[in-house]
């Protein structure tokens, strides 16, 4: 039960219950507005009937030729609204728009290798690991590799019926952060 609507610039003034959580980074104003100024249809927010923001997604479209795809930059849900299927709903919308409006070949996202809850959710949505990116994230304190490394996970869209954008052994393909960003 939530309102799914496009993200508005003024939502930045109301997203504290989401962003005070450790897993969610707060970026500069221009970070958010840059996404809204370019891919507003890939940025949406879930709102509770009482006006409280529950979670949001920021995405973009990028890449050349067969690499043209939708990318999930940030997907987050406030702690009290987790495990209620909000993530999948926002992902569905982003995939739909990436497919219909942008005609991308796939959607991809990065996730900390130790964020098991999120990885499981993405696998349930049809994503699989395409590669492991070394030291993509800053440390949260434990210093483990799984914390700093990212999985690049992908899901093919209707423009890729042969599923060429994914591979089976992605977890063992390791690349450096500098080669992806």
């Amino acid at each position: 039960m939530s309102i799914l609507r496009s993200f508005r610039a003024t939502d930045l003034l109301k997203f504290n219950n989401i962003n005070l959580d450790i897993w969610t980074e707060t970026y500069s104003i221009s970070f958010y507005l840059n996404y809204l100024a370019r891919w507003p249809d890939l940025c949406s927010v879930q709102q509770a009937p009482n006006g409280r923001l529950m979670g949001y997604v920021f995405g973009k479209a990028e890449g050349h030729n067969e690499e043209w795809h939708g990318h999930v930059t940030a997907l987050t849900v406030a702690p009290e609204f987790r495990r209620m299927g909000l993530g999948p709903k926002m992902m569905n919308l982003l995939e739909y728009v990436s497919d219909e409006a942008y005609q991308g070949f796939f959607v991809d996202l990065y996730v900390r290798c130790n964020n098991h809850v999120a990885i499981k959710m993405y696998e349930g949505l049809g994503y699989s690991v395409y590669r492991r990116v070394r030291e993509y994230y800053g440390s949260l304190g434990s210093g483990s590799k799984d914390e700093e490394d990212a999985f690049d996970m992908r899901k093919p869209l209707s423009r890729d019926p042969m599923r060429r954008s994914i591979r089976a052994n992605g977890r063992s393909v390791i690349v450096s952060a500098s080669s992806v960003s």
Binding site: M1, T26, L33, L36, P49, P79
Partner: protein, 943 residues
């Protein structure tokens, strides 16, 4: 010079600038300029390097020189635009590009830059003219749409005459229709077209456009368009078709967006003939959806409650099942979701039998297995919260609330076992129980005024915060509690742990900066809070730069739907209440740190006047919704844990701004008739318009006190307010006699920062008005005479009262300090040798001197007492006292003896520090400022 040569020459300068090596860039520039003094590009790069290393004055002179030559070289323009942006000289940037574009009217890049320069400052009319010209030259539709968007923005701009609005919108529409390709080719052009039609109230036409095939497809992938479509249809009263659309979405497409349910319910209940039949049909539909979805989605089940609530409100036919049964069944199905409590909150305001029925239901829930599984735990947490919400007055007694607090705490400790194996980055599932326990203890404090309950709440939250390191709600409450119990350094520690940054500085800085002058140790040279104010204010300059850049970007990418939103966002930050609250705290604390020189006072006076004039457009973005609110009887934990009954907001701010302006005016030689706008408004990026022409003069408005504003002050703040006002009105006649002829404002740091180097010229010099004879002597009013004595009395009482919170005595002490500082400022003119035209033997002069002596005696006493209390603060006895107050929550296996002692030590140490430091600071102020105000000299740190 050939291009390659030029490129070889300047490449190292660009590289150095890119790498942030501005000094080296500057040296290279100087070397080249020795040989080629007229190399404009190198000169411009030199200017840029100077700006970046802070040589602002020189950069301004050099940039004026460059601009005077009307540059047209694109590299020069590019570098110059960086210089001007850094100096916030947006108007100069416009002129520069306009001139260059005039010279090369076919150069699209220059046109675009001219357009963007206007966009950056919201100069919509000029932007529209540039875009129209560009469109004429290039026939590119993009520029046509730029001109259309600019026209629409001009129509909605506050400074535009309302009568012009429809004319501009019609113009925009005509331009859209003149375009070669239909707007529907791109979602954002289409959106713009539709909003113009909507604003012209041509809803039918707009809806027709949307209901074509392409329109439908666009709505499908654009939530913005779909929202607009629904809005239009509802305005046109298309109830029947919207009802149908909602039904189809819910059934065929399994849409579960709450907005769709609301649309279904709105259309069902709209006034029409077959109301009852439609309600039944909708009820049937939602019920079947709810059954179908089961536990997988809550929307339908909740929509059923929403429909019933609305029917009950309108006294429409009810469902055959009683409302409470629906509530129960919702709880049975979704009680194990953390959001269940928030979901049900709007529906549980019940009376009479229904209330009893619901209460019995909640009371009979079996909570014995709360720590058996996470879903059972969540269910119990929901029961606890729901029960707490429906408590009635008789049930909220100290005794019963104590029982509840212990019950929550027991449940919390037991349920911790469920989260044992979780990594430290995860939240504990039992966290909310600790919040509930703390809420109950805070409520107990509210009922009994016994501080021991706050100690209990603190220990519980500290413990929970250790178990769940990243739970922010514990920290939010701890910040509040530590301020109340006079341990601000611990509050600051938790605040920093929350890693507040970027835009959160606007919405959450209130946590630490509200009334922070109470804890400020600037008198002792500790600038922590001053620094905090400056750091948290950086977001406002980021906003000015970044948001304007992004508006430009949205134009470049033609995302017209975003532009009005960005502008609103920019405005809300720019005119943020918190921004000015932070400013006023900064002024208050600053004056306790550095001597109030004439320069400081003039600069602050001008800025405060400007902010005061602008405050009529304030936006309050402060976020209080982050507080966990589970208190019964409509009480709010936000209020219960605030320092003072009302958290300082817009009204409070108005009182303080007025008070400081009035005091500064007395000390300043500036012409009081100048308002902030006259001085700073000239080149401000946003004009202050519209200003009501019938508004009273500033001086009259400053002296008006609104009851609503006044009420937001604490009693002690009210006393300071009356004291300063009485003091100022007593001294005013003598001040008028003594002050030199009014001076024009010579713009210093602020004016430069705002690029208004010419502002001073606009200020006319008024004629001197000083009377020739001194006014007859009068005695100071009673309220001024007795202020400091009574302050000391109140301080002693508060410090000795066991029910007074530790922050209260500090509040009195620091306000007393502020009173002395303000006294010194307003009397400086009389006290300084030679500056006063009054004779030393004049009774007024005597009174001024005696009053100050009285103030110094009282404040020295207070300072001494604080230092003394501080000495007895962090002792085994005080720690033991703290420990004993927490006995009810101490147990050997969890919140044990050592833990509580640890908290006790932290709290008492922090309290000792702030008390003795404020005490010592007071003594310092009495000595330091006792020598009088240093006028015309001294450092100025700028703000």
């Amino acid at each position: 010079m050939s291009n390659t040569l030029q490129e070889r020459q300047v490449r190292p300068i660009y590289d150095a600038i890119d790498l942030g090596q501005f000094k080296s860039a500057l040296q290279t520039c100087n070397k080249i300029l020795k040989k080629q003094p007229n190399n404009e590009l190198v000169k411009t790069l030199k200017c840029l390097a100077m700006v970046r290393i802070g040589k602002i004055d020189e950069a301004v002179i050099l940039s004026d020189e460059i601009l005077a030559k009307k540059p047209s070289d694109e590299l020069v323009l590019g570098a110059m635009s960086n210089v001007l942006r850094f100096l916030s000289r947006h108007e100069d940037m416009i002129v520069m590009y306009e001139d260059a574009y005039k010279k090369n009217p076919t150069n699209e890049e220059l046109g675009a830059q001219t357009f963007m320069a206007n966009v950056r400052v919201g100069n919509w009319k000029a932007a529209q003219q540039v875009a129209t010209k560009m469109h004429k030259n290039s026939k590119d539709d993009r520029y046509l749409y730029w001109s259309i968007m600019s026209t629409v923005l001009q129509a909605s701009d506050l400074s535009t005459d309302p009568a012009m609005r429809p004319i501009l919108l019609k113009l925009a529409l005509r331009l859209i229709e003149s375009s070669g390709s239909p707007s529907i080719a791109s979602p954002d052009r289409f959106y713009l077209n539709l909003t113009v039609l909507r604003d012209l109230e041509r809803y039918e036409e707009a809806l027709n456009l949307l209901e074509g095939d392409v329109g439908k497809h666009l709505c499908d992938t654009s939530l913005v368009l779909e929202e607009l479509r629904h809005e239009l249809a509802m305005t046109l009263g298309k109830r029947e078709s919207e009802l149908q659309i909602a039904r189809t979405r819910l059934t065929e497409r399994r849409d579960r967006n709450w907005l769709t349910f609301i649309s279904l319910i709105d259309c069902t209940l709209a006034d029409h003939q077959e109301l009852e039949a439609t309600i039944n049909e909708t009820r049937k539909l939602i019920t079947s959806l709810a059954q179908e979805d089961g536990t997988s989605d809550r929307s339908a089940a909740l929509a059923l409650l929403e429909l019933e609530r609305r029917c009950r409100e309108k006294e429409l036919p009810k469902r055959d099942i009683p409302f409470v049964e629906s509530l129960k069944s919702y709880f049975v199905t979704f009680g194990d979701k953390p959001a269940c409590f928030e979901d049900l909150k709007p529906y549980i305001d019940l009376q009479g039998e229904e209330r009893e029925d619901w209460t019995t239901f909640l009371d009979t829930r079996d909570l014995s297995n709360a720590s058996g599984s996470i879903s059972e735990l969540v269910r119990s947490i929901n029961v606890f919260k729901l029960r707490r919400m429906r408590l009635i007055e008789e049930e909220v007694t100290v005794e019963k609330e104590e029982e509840r607090a212990e019950q929550y705490l027991r449940a919390y400790l037991a349920a911790l076992s469920l989260g044992k194996g979780l990594p430290s980055t995860e939240l504990q599932p039992a966290d909310d129980l600790a919040i509930l326990a703390a809420s109950a203890y805070i409520n107990l404090y509210d009922l009994s005024k016994s501080i021991s309950y706050l100690n209990c709440a603190t220990c519980v939250l500290e413990y929970a915060s250790q178990r769940s390191k990243h739970a922010f709600q514990h920290r939010l409450l701890l910040i509040r509690l530590y301020r109340l119990v006079g341990a601000p350094s611990l509050a600051l520690e938790h605040y920093r742990q929350m890693n507040i940054k970027q835009v959160q500085n606007d919405t959450l800085a209130h946590l630490i900066l509200a009334r922070c002058a109470t804890f400020s140790l600037t008198s002792n040279g500790d600038l922590t809070y001053l620094q905090e104010c400056l750091e948290s204010s950086q977001i406002y300059s980021s906003n000015n730069n970044e948001t304007a850049d992004m508006v430009v970007k949205a134009f470049q990418f033609e995302k017209y739907s975003q532009i009005p939103e960005f502008i609103e966002f920019e405005d809300r930050l720019d005119s943020s209440v918190q921004r000015d609250l932070t400013k006023i705290e900064h002024v208050r604390m600053r004056l306790a740190h550095e001597p109030a020189t004439t320069e400081t006072i003039d600069t602050e006076l001008v800025e405060l006047k400007f902010l005061y004039e602008r405050s009529q457009f304030h936006h309050d973005n402060r976020d209080f919704s982050v507080f966990p609110e589970y208190q019964p009887l409509g009480k709010l934990i936000n209020t219960q844990t605030g320092m003072g009954e009302v958290s300082p907001g817009e009204e409070w701010l108005t009182m303080w701004m007025k008070m400081y302006i009035i005091c500064f005016e007395l000390a300043s030689d500036l012409d009081p008739a100048l308002d902030g706008q006259a001085i700073l408004g000239g080149d401000k990026s946003k004009p202050l318009n519209p200003i009501d022409k019938d508004r009273k003069a500033l001086s009259a408005r400053l002296r008006e006190i609104s009851e609503d504003d006044y009420k937001t002050l604490t009693p002690e703040e009210r006393r300071l307010h009356s004291f300063t006002l009485a003091l100022v009105s007593w001294l005013e006649p003598y001040n008028t006699y003594c002050r030199p002829p009014p001076q024009p404002f010579v713009p210093g740091a602020i004016a430069l920062a705002n690029g208004s180097a010419n502002a001073a010229k606009k200020v006319p010099k008024p004629a001197p008005t000083a009377p020739s004879e001194p006014p007859p002597s009068t005695n100071p009013p009673e309220s001024v005479l007795n202020y400091f004595d009574e302050l000391e009395k109140r301080f002693r009482e508060t410090a000795e009262t066991s029910t007074a919170l530790p922050w209260e005595a500090l509040h009195i002490a620091t306000l007393g300090q502020e009173a002395l500082i303000l006294y010194n400022i307003v009397t400086a003119r009389f006290r300084l040798g030679g500056a006063s035209k009054l004779k030393k033997s004049d009774p007024v002069m005597q009174s001024i001197k005696n009053l100050r002596t009285k103030a110094l005696v009282a404040l020295k006493d207070i300072g001494g007492i604080l230092v003394k209390i501080g000495e007895t603060d962090a002792t085994p006895e005080t720690r033991k006292e703290f420990f004993e107050s927490c006995q009810s929550i101490t147990s050997p296996n969890d919140i044990d003896h050592d833990f509580v002692f640890g908290v006790a030590k932290k709290v008492t140490d922090a309290r000792k520090k702030v008390r003795s430091d404020i005490g010592k600071g007071l003594e310092r102020i009495c000595k330091g400022q006792g020598q009088g105000l240093v006028l015309g000299a001294g450092p100025s740190t700028g703000s």
